[in-house]
Symmetry: C2
Subunit: 348 residues, 2 copies
């Protein structure tokens, strides 16, 4: 962050814990009829009527999951919400509520936390979810964000990881690899900045991939799109760790195999050109890059006509018997076993 020594700074200590929560959440409005009580009691109270409750939680830690030297706090708040909503959408459900807990060291002034909450508020408004609770406390070092996302779905619409059958089509929304290449560009600029703090990089050619990294969107449109088409996905997962890792999750949970076709993997032209510039194989980036928050799902062969040609969706392969394993079929028609290169935060 570029530090402005002259800006007004309010210390968190002065506000205290209750004051801070009140201050940060006063502008959040309740949009859902299902929110009987939001912030301000021991617990929130929700009414999902005859729908099922869907719930997921995530932890984001400074120095592990994000780097504030190129991640503006507002973007971080936005992305933290998106990452969690994506898990709800990956159940083919509608996200309705979130709780946000933060731990923050005293080095952050109130104004920084306000920026973070501005990003959270933006995501809440855009994705129509109510902030209904949370916790705010100090940390000994750095910033930490814990979000729980809650959603609702009719039982018949819920898509688990376990429902894929052999011969089902494998479908992905949007395009892949952008978030990873955005990270490569930002890491490079950070190194350049260290050597020459006065350099003014032209990041315009990279705006798509940088946005995929700093301000990803979650696919809240896919569930409705599939319903309009009359398609019930047989299994579904979101792509947080890279295509390869997510395919293997579907295969393991559904007890099936998979053939993934390299030439069908959707890539944005700017991702391809960035890969060329960085001398990285674009298929590897899509397979192992992660953080794209697209949805990966399977549908019955019978739904082929409904899916094909939709600009939001790409059919990238099909499921097989478990005994056949999970493979990438390359452009050169070679069969390579898929391996999970999913991210392990415990690796040094």
């Amino acid at each position: 962050m570029i530090e402005d020594k002259n800006q007004e700074r309010t210390s968190l200590e002065k506000l205290g814990e209750f004051g801070l929560i009140d201050h940060l959440t006063k502008d959040f409005s309740i949009q859902h009829e299902s929110t009987l009580t939001g912030i301000g009691d021991d617990a929130a109270v929700l009414d999902f009527k005859d729908k099922k409750t869907v719930l997921s939680t995530d932890l984001l830690i400074e120095g592990v999951h994000f780097d504030l030297s190129y991640m503006p706090l507002k973007h971080l708040g936005y992305k933290a919400v998106i990452v969690n909503l994506s898990d709800i959408y990956a159940m083919n459900a509608t996200a309705t509520h979130i709780t946000v807990s933060i731990a923050v060291s005293n080095r952050f002034p109130l104004e920084a936390i306000e920026e973070l909450y501005a990003g959270i508020a933006l995501a809440c408004t855009k994705f129509k979810v109510d902030l209904i609770g949370g916790d705010t406390t100090s940390s000994t070092t750095g910033l930490l964000i814990s979000i729980t996302a809650i959603g609702a779905a009719n039982e018949t619409n819920i898509a688990y990881r376990k429902g894929a059958k052999p011969n089902d089509l494998l479908v992905v929304s949007g395009d892949l690899g952008g978030a990873y290449m955005g990270l490569q560009v930002l890491e490079r600029e950070k190194e350049v900045f260290k050597v020459n703090p006065n350099s003014q990089p032209d990041l315009e050619p990279y705006s798509y991939v940088i946005e995929r990294q700093l301000k990803p969107e979650a696919r809240n449109d896919i569930s409705g799109l599939l319903q309009e088409m009359g398609v019930q996905p047989t299994s579904m997962i979101d792509i947080s760790d890279g295509l390869s890792s997510e395919i293997l999750h579907l295969c393991k949970n559904s007890e099936v195999g998979c053939n993934l076709f390299e030439d069908k993997i959707p890539l944005d032209p700017t991702v391809i050109s960035a890969c060329e510039e960085f001398n990285i194989d674009s298929t590897m980036v899509a397979l192992s890059g992660g953080e794209d928050y697209e949805l990966l799902f399977t549908v019955a062969q019978a739904d082929f006509e409904k899916i094909k040609g939709n600009p939001n969706l790409s059919i990238i392969g099909h499921m097989t018997q478990a005994s056949e394993g999970a493979h990438l079929i390359t452009r050169g028609d070679t069969k390579i076993p898929l391996t999970a290169q999913g991210w392990n935060s415990f690796k040094a």
Copy 2:
């Protein structure tokens, strides 16, 4: 912690993130019919039928909320769950599910995290809640636990902070101040240990207060007890920050005042004797000590006969018009304004 240099230690890096979650959660069983899907998909799926969903979340941070030099990891896991369940019970609801996220630095071997989860499992079994999700990641320093507790209640049974009326009776479960005095004893022993690591303190006389600090229980019995009595509390809160702070929350949210009678505050004899030894006023300890996780609630005057004489409950005051303010009526019949000494984690 006493470190055993010879014990087998498994590094977290070796297991990786998915391996760690699988390993830690494999022995947790699902007890609730409402749990349609627990751990292992993008999100958990719950079915509360015609009941309302109640949800609360908390963040516990090493060096801020707990000190591993006298808090065994198993106790910490247990307490972390209790603290969250208490918020659900404070809505006069039944706790049914939790999610647990942890961030942990590489200095913790797997065996330490297993201890933590053994405590979590014990609380889940004892309080009949299902572990349905969570996140496990590395931290740059120390241990961090984020828990979301979920519960269910009939709408008519839910007790908010806002329902107290003037003349309602103020009631508290159990006794107060124990957890704070337990902390005083443990802090003193830590200082003694620093000077003389071979000292063998006799902590037997302090076992009740130490247990209140290290292994508190949440009052899952009160909701059922009140239903049996035919009593619907008009407002309710749990005592995490001290009686004074919680009374002021009820007053603020219900727009009432309160008279609290010093001679009615329930204190265990060992709390009184520890207060004498440490030369601390026991009323102050009850008012500001916190971490007792008892329930504080109000009932209509008409329920007096049902409540009085119950060994689990003490009538400690009554609500007044808001204009009268909130006061402690001392044994000497002096009226002292109640002030919130609630804990502020941002204070140095």
